[in-house]
Symmetry: C2
Subunit: 161 residues, 2 copies
């Protein structure tokens, strides 16, 4: 099985695939009498005209490392953000697209409390909490129509830390 090494998750490294949702610098502004910093509009949410943003909750079972990546999926009609409610780190596998085929895979692991937003139509592995089960708020598209494409990997990848 081919190996895929986990690399450091930075906003720059992840930018082609989506957005890192975390405190990454000073706040855009202080609110609530200076007791709270607002880091404004951190994710490129993107939905088709028939869709809208919604908040759902994924209650996901634990996975372990090394992790066998045997399938990726994408959502042509909308972006998808994952926001951990239990502080459980999760694996984020993504890939570029070549005429409908995922290529040049990358793997990242969030730190506790970090969220990510995956761009509309970007190939990604399914939610994979590492080491413990976890609840995740998910901001994605609510609406009619087919918003899921799956691609089973002919040769699975072994994702390692």
């Amino acid at each position: 099985m081919e190996r895929l090494m986990i690399e450091p998750l930075t906003a720059e490294a992840f930018a082609p695939f989506g957005d890192l949702i975390d405190v990454l610098g000073p706040p855009d502004r202080l609110i609530n009498a200076g007791l709270c910093g607002r880091h404004h509009d951190l994710a490129r949410l993107d939905f088709d005209a028939e869709g809208r943003a919604g908040i759902s909750l994924f209650d996901a079972q634990a996975r372990t490392l090394p992790h066998v990546l045997d399938l990726v999926e994408r959502h042509p009609l909308g972006s998808q953000a994952f926001l951990p409610l239990d502080g459980v780190p999760f694996l984020v596998c993504v890939a570029e697209d070549a005429d409908g085929v995922p290529v040049r895979f990358r793997a990242f692991l969030t730190a506790p409390g970090q969220g990510v937003n995956i761009l509309r139509n970007c190939w990604h592995g399914v939610l994979a909490p590492i080491g413990a089960p976890g609840r995740y708020a998910v901001v994605d598209r609510i609406g009619p129509g087919a918003n899921l494409q799956e691609y089973p990997l002919p040769v699975p990848l072994l994702v390692e830390g």
Copy 2:
């Protein structure tokens, strides 16, 4: 100072003011080869035509109980959801409206990992993490125009557990 007692946070009790975002029953469907339950579209997101949903991050200082509630605010152009990334419970004070004046105050305290969505134009206290500072993903309205009304309480309330 008048006292306001914290009451149990249930979806029913909070419904007039917003939505409780948590695992509250069986999932709407199982996804990811049965390894994840999806609890679908849990929040009444509501934005005016010029606004859209965005994900921001609030980095808020700790508060303590009892808590002095001396101001509430509301957002006429959009709902506002708070999703804890560090598992820090937070105080949720809300009130009904009587011709622009907040009345009949209520106070709730989330459990670790619970989020809430506050309905558009509903009076509420500012984000108040209890016992520790915390980061919260906030799904609220991004757009032009005035979306904040504040109401300083003539007589503050002492919120107690």
